[in-house]
């Protein structure tokens, strides 16, 4: 091997080693900080009027834009839904959780006063078991869901569902809402106690992953029931960080060995060049 060749080999191996180390470092880092469909959630010590969508406290809380697309119901006109995005902010205290949703809707539809009239609405879907991921369309019999459903005529319903077509209203809603329409935008806050002492409501533990999905209804566009703009499953990553996995240990070891090996070869290569 010529000197020049050795130089070239040393440089290439050097770059390769850097790349391997970077990959080894970034793998676990990506898994923790920027999970797919993770939502920020703020832990608050006191309520601070968070039930009010216009409360000052919301300005400090991180929002996440959630993408919406037409729910797959197959109903007439289901593919033609109006709203594409909603911003989600979430906070909880020791006792309650507050979820604030905002979305663009220039026309307020708040009264059903005609057979053709539908109202604006928004819904939050939680799995009955908070870390499960049931089928997105209203869950299934084996994995049911809770749905908190607000409509602009002032009604709020708590629903239990085990698949499309099975939605049933729970007795009295334990969810409360407040809503504001301002400057072409709806803002709605859902509030519920974290604990739920019954067989239908999702028990919310704040040290566990909580899966969540959202849907928006544009009343002006005759959206209702299965015709809505819905999100995929998102989650609040409230579970504690786990220790390094076997894979991570292996990657770190390989990375470390790669650094050592490359240093050795570089030194060897340079020495030979000098000679």
């Amino acid at each position: 091997m010529t000197d020049r060749t050795r130089q070239a080999v040393a440089i290439v191996l050097g770059i390769a080693a850097v790349a391997v180390v970077l990959l080894a470092l970034s793998g676990p880092a990506m898994g923790y900080a920027v999970g797919v469909n993770a939502l920020p959630v703020a832990e608050m010590t006191d309520d601070d009027a968070l039930e009010d969508p216009d409360a000052d406290a919301w300005a400090e809380i991180e929002a996440q834009t959630v993408v919406l697309s037409s729910a797959e119901s197959g109903l007439p006109g289901y593919q033609d839904t109006a709203v594409g995005l909603t911003d989600v902010e979430t906070a909880h205290t020791d006792e309650k959780i507050h979820i604030r949703l905002t979305w663009d809707d220039p026309v307020v539809n708040e009264e059903i006063d005609d057979p053709q009239a539908y109202v604006d609405g928004v819904a939050v879907q939680l799995p009955f078991e908070q870390d499960k991921e049931p089928p997105i369309e209203m869950g299934s019999e084996e994995e049911p869901v809770n749905v908190w459903y607000w409509t602009a005529d002032g009604e709020v319903e708590e629903l239990y569902a085990g698949g499309m077509g099975s939605t049933t209203e729970m007795g009295e809603s334990a969810v409360s809402t407040q809503a504001v329409h301002d400057d072409g935008e709806w803002s709605v806050v859902f509030t519920r106690e974290l604990t739920a002492d019954d067989r239908e409501r999702t028990e919310i533990a704040t040290d566990q992953r909580l899966n969540v999905a959202f849907a928006v209804f544009d009343g002006d566009n005759a959206e209702r029931g299965g015709i809505k703009a819905a999100s995929e499953w998102y989650h609040y990553p409230m579970d504690p960080e786990p220790g390094p996995s076997v894979l991570e240990l292996v990657l770190w070891s390989v990375g470390g060995l790669a650094i050592v090996a490359v240093l050795v070869m570089t030194v060897y290569g340079i020495r030979n060049v000098e000679q």
Partner: protein
């Protein structure tokens, strides 16, 4: 497929035949239905039974042009329509009865608003040119179809066809007011109650036919019993002794309305015969006042044979012969005209 075939899962399909040769458009059936069922809040604009003038736009306005029930005979796909607005149904108007009858006002009796459409706005207008203009009355109600597209439309199975008698009903607990049924019925005979936020429709007076009304007696539906000319027949669809089967299957004079919707309606119509046309000078023209082509649009091509049968049997009676068909159509035997024993709730 026979028009008298009962749906799967139904014990005894209840059915109705209306003889359009007898309808005088008095709306007694409409009012008797309304006073029984639809004078509740949210139902003011609903006429579970209505009588419209044909040719005419009907109730709701232009209903025949919107929505086709099933897309084809194999019923694999629906062809939903649109939900009408209150304007297209015709708002229920507020009148000045109080002022005129009790407060001495000199005003004319009139709606307080200035309407430009109502549920019977084009009454008696019809079509055609003098001296051969024509119209007839068409009473309509839910057909309690064998293959109801409203039942199919509901994603929650809130609309169902009950097994005792095939009456189609809306479960008020399950209904969440989506109104896919309203857009799914090609006859526009299921309505939305804006107060209750649920769908509502003709119930074929099931408490009456069960014998569960206030007097504990079995009764025919209100529209049937109240009819001034007694033009309606009620009975089991496939009862070979009953008037429905005889008029639909044997004599083939009773026909479904808009059979091309493929829903298999269980309400049938005997088409209206009409006098001959004549010139302005009074000379006869060999043509019917009501054009058979128009009747074919409503009742299909079998309407021509039906009209011929009616004419032939009438002629037999005119010449002194007997006709079972004319016996049925002119009977005073109410027990035969309303054959409902099998539907009583015992």
């Amino acid at each position: 497929m026979s028009r008298t075939e009962t749906a799967d899962g139904v014990d005894n399909q209840i059915a109705m035949v209306l003889d359009l040769n007898k309808c005088i458009g008095c709306q007694t059936c409409t009012i008797s239905c309304k006073t029984n069922w639809t004078d509740e809040p949210g139902r003011e604009y609903m006429y579970w039974n209505n009588v419209e003038t044909k040719p005419g736009e009907g109730y709701p306005r232009g209903w025949e042009d919107v929505g086709d029930g099933w897309a084809s005979e194999d019923r694999t796909e629906r062809s939903p329509g649109e939900i009408p607005s209150l304007e297209e149904y015709g708002r229920s108007w507020e009148f000045n009865h109080q002022e005129i009858f009790y407060e001495g006002s000199d005003e004319h009796l009139a709606p307080e608003e200035d309407p430009d459409w109502g549920p019977n706005w084009d009454e008696d207008e019809g079509d055609g040119q003098f001296p051969n203009s024509y119209y007839f009355y068409l009473p309509r109600l839910c057909n309690h179809c064998t293959h109801p597209s409203c039942v199919e439309a509901c994603p929650r199975q809130a609309v169902y066809k009950r097994s005792e008698d095939g009456i189609v009903l809306v479960d008020q607990e399950r209904c969440r007011g989506y109104r896919h049924c309203v857009e799914g019925c090609p006859y526009h005979k299921i309505y939305f109650n804006v107060e209750e936020k649920t769908a509502e429709k003709c119930i074929f007076c099931y408490p009456r036919i069960e014998g569960n009304g206030p007097d504990g007696e079995q009764h025919a539906p209100a529209c049937v019993e109240s009819c001034v000319t007694q033009l309606r027949y009620v009975g089991r669809l496939d009862d070979p002794q009953g008037p429905i089967y005889k008029l639909v299957e044997e004599w083939e004079v009773a026909l479904p309305l808009h059979e091309e919707y493929h829903t298999g309606p269980n309400v049938f119509y005997i088409p209206p015969m009409s006098p001959g046309q004549h010139t302005q000078e009074g000379e006869s023209i060999d043509a019917d006042r009501i054009p058979p082509e128009y009747l074919e649009e409503l009742f299909g091509e079998d309407v021509h044979a039906a009209l011929d049968t009616l004419e032939r049997e009438r002629e037999r009676v005119r010449t002194g012969e007997e006709s079972e068909l004319m016996e049925i159509l002119t009977t005073n035997d109410m027990e035969n005209q309303h054959r409902m024993e099998v539907f009583a709730d015992d």
